[in-house]
Amino acid sequence: MTAPAALNIRLTKRLQRSLRRDPGLFFMPALLIVSFAITVAIHPQFSDFDLQSLAMGALPLAFAAAAQTVVVIAGGIDLSVGSMMAVANVLAASLMEKASFGQSLLLALAVLIGGAGIGALNGLIVVISRIPDVVATLTSGFIWGGVALLILEKPGGGAPQEFLNLGTGTLFTPWLPNALVLLAAAVGVIWIPLRRSKLGLQLYAVGSDRIAAFRSGVNIDRTRFAAYLFSGLFSAVGGVGFTMTTGIGAPLAGVYYTLSGLAAVVVGGVSLAGGRGGMLGPVLAAFVLTLIPTDLIFLNIDPNFGQVIQGTLIVVIVMIGGFVDMERSRK
């Protein structure tokens, strides 16, 4: 056997294995391509501008999904993602209104640290109080939703133009929106090192089997705490990203992202039982979930009816994922 052939076999084997381990990894890109194909079919004049607005529209949802994914993988749930995004969004918009570009970058960093802090607080509440995570994060979500309204009563604020260009512009070609680059960079910079670290392993372990993880020497409380911290960080990135792409702070916009982010997580093949799934699935699912309403608008469908269709599609996609999973575990 020649060396390249052996390599080829090894690659195929690895691919097969990762397909088995994480069907979302291949299911989601396929689904995204299909959704794109459908979009182009019903809207043949799909332009670079449409791609840019898609990327900008999907950006906050993708970060909401990323925030939720970290917690769900560790076997928890975070219902305060939307509120944390709102706080980050209005904080950034109100602080940056009169700032210079350099200052705005520093402020963005400060907001991200603040977001991680809010997430850490969530983690502390869940771990120390032993209140179920659903209850703890739902209530803390109400609190941070209120804080967002205290910071900015109604939509407003702003940011320096250079800062906004980071989110709305394009890189090299009009077909590569900055929003896409930003998303890939932020998720890559935070998630990939985390996934490869011991902490990443512990997140999966705790979500998969808490007792086995404990017996393997994992500190369960610390790991869950870290999951919520990263959820806060991703939420804050999403909130700052929202400021970047819209140019304003909107205290009530975040509410929508908690549940649709959770939908993206489920569609993206992350098991709500914990321990299974990756980051790529939910992020791509955010694009699919953004494409669906866009397509319905292109088709001139009554928006109220559109919501029914969107919900139905989500159920169908999740069901397909469920069947694939069942088939897999039967083997």
Partner: protein, 499 residues
């Protein structure tokens, strides 16, 4: 024996789970270079002791000395750093991670684990496979290899051979001997008597959370272990028990109320057959994990079985749901009362629930009828309702009576009782035995699994013993003395005479 020479010593360990006492005063002394057996019947506290020593649970009382120094561990990782590593009953491997990731998670060296796996006879294991895709015996060996990779001074093996085929068990015996030769100690828990007497230098026997005795390896140690497991008290209890019931005199050609034919339910039930007649109490005895739970689940309709048939009064049943079994007159009193009862709801609702489960009973409940039925069963069982109307305020024994009362209120033909007296005080136990006898006397059939061997003589007409998913012995109650039952339950021939 010089105290300082002990590798591990636990003195007077105590542990309570809510109101259930798992350990009262368990002591254990382990010397370097020995294989130490830890024996005891079900619920004697073996696993709890192991988990306390290795930091899974905190102890309520007692002290642990490692090489003469007092220690207490808050997690398995801490115990590991002190050279104490356990392979638990269920593998401590995370299912959604690969083998390699699991090793990294626990901080074990992959090379060392691979080396030990090779020694255990598993060559060329693909470490990038997911743990959930590997068979259970392999996982046990991986767990053991990981434990060995930490080079523990004290290695605890909790029933590691229970679900292993014979050839893999041999590998483990060899490894245990090897580990002893290196001057380390192995604490070996097993229900297989033959294994323990072949492998262990000494054995500590627990009974009801107390160390009943320590045996040196010597001729006849098997019999001494059985005697220690039984204890003197149980012998007295048998003598004073109200075994006044007549005991099976019925024509051989009578149709059984319940017949189980060649039932298989993977992985634990391998062909179980027995007959249960109206008016009798059939006792069942087995060690943990011999398939009894699965068997009861199958008969009660909450688990599907692969092969075999369940017949009630000669008619084959199709049990897809507990409701099917209840409709056929088969009702279950499960081991875990919490599974059967609605803790937050009042007693009458708990008792009345199954009577109103069917669709034909939908619509308004005739409250007078319900009250009459419920009250008569409360009275009959002498349920102590003073504690309040909410179920969770009742004592364990009274809760168990509520479970039985609900079936009395709704009516049944065959009663399955799974260890109904676990964790119940002796007075209530007596009442439950009497009730079971009464139910049989009224013409119902009762199948009673029990982990307390004394109960066979107290409440049953016949006894069967389950081992390895099969019925290995059947005897009338007159022959079912505890030593015989215990020997059969350990897979030893029941006829061997105790010396």
């Amino acid at each position: 024996m010089n105290e300082a020479a002990l590798l591990l010593e636990a003195t007077k360990m105590a542990k309570k789970f809510d109101s259930v006492v798992a350990l009262k005063a368990a002591s254990l002394q382990v010397r370097p270079g020995e294989v130490h057996g830890l024996m005891g019947s079900n619920g004697a506290g073996k696993s709890t002791l192991v988990k306390i020593i290795t930091g899974v649970y905190p102890a309520d009382g007692g002290q642990i000395f490692v090489k003469g120094v007092i220690r207490s561990f808050r997690s398995p990782a801490e115990a590991r750093r002190a050279g104490i590593v356990s392979v638990y009953q269920d593998p401590a491997l995370v299912p959604d991670l690969t083998v390699a990731q699991n090793m990294r998670l626990a901080g074990a060296s992959v090379d060392a684990v691979r080396k030990w796996l090779t020694e255990l006879g598993i060559v060329r294991l693909d470490f990038s496979l997911l743990v959930r895709d590997l068979p259970d015996p392999t996982l046990r060996l991986i767990d053991l290899a990981r434990a060995l990779a930490w080079e523990p001074a004290v290695l605890l093996l909790d029933e590691i051979t229970a679900s292993l085929p014979a050839d893999l068990s041999e590998q483990i015996y060899a490894m245990v001997k090897h580990w002893r030769q290196r001057g380390n100690a192995v604490i070996f828990i097993s229900h297989r008597m033959a294994e323990v007497s072949a492998l262990c230098d000494r054995a500590t026997v627990l009974r009801d959370g107390v160390t009943a005795g320590v045996t040196e390896r010597a001729h006849g140690s098997e019999e001494r272990i059985v005697a220690l497991m039984l204890g003197a008290e149980t012998a007295r209890a048998v003598a004073s028990g109200p075994s006044t019931h007549a005991g099976g005199s019925r024509p051989d050609d009578a149709e059984p109320a319940l017949e189980v034919r060649g039932l298989r339910c993977s992985p634990l039930v391998n062909e179980v057959s027995f007959k249960l007649y109206s008016g009798e109490v059939l006792g069942m005895v087995a060690l943990e994990g011999q398939g009894q739970e699965e068997l009861f689940d199958c008969i009660a309709g909450s688990r599907r079985y692969g092969e075999g048939a369940i017949l009630a009064h000669g008619k084959e049943l199709r049990l897809r749901h507990p409701a099917d079994a209840i409709a056929a007159g088969i009702v279950l009193v499960p081991a875990n009362r919490l599974l059967a009862l609605l803790q937050q709801r009042p007693i009458p609702e708990n008792i009345g629930l199954p009577a109103f489960g069917g669709i034909r009973n939908w619509g308004p409940i005739k409250s007078r009828d319900e009250r009459a039925r419920v009250e008569s069963s409360i009275e009959r069982l002498r349920i102590d309702t003073r504690a309040g109307s909410e179920l969770r305020r009742l004592s364990g024994g009274n809760q168990q009576k509520v479970v039985i009362a609900r079936w009395l209120a709704s009516g049944f033909d065959i009663l399955l009782c799974f260890d109904p007296t676990r964790g119940i005080d002796i007075g209530t136990k007596r009442q439950i035995y009497a009730l079971v006898r009464e139910i049989a006397a009224e013409g119902s059939a009762v199948l009673l699994f029990t982990s307390e061997l004394t109960e066979i003589a107290l409440a049953c007409d016949r006894a069967i013993v389950l081992f390895g998913g099969r019925v290995v012995a059947e005897m009338p109650v007159s022959q079912a003395d505890e030593a015989t039952l215990l020997r059969s339950a350990h897979g030893l021939s029941p006829s061997a005479e105790a010396s």
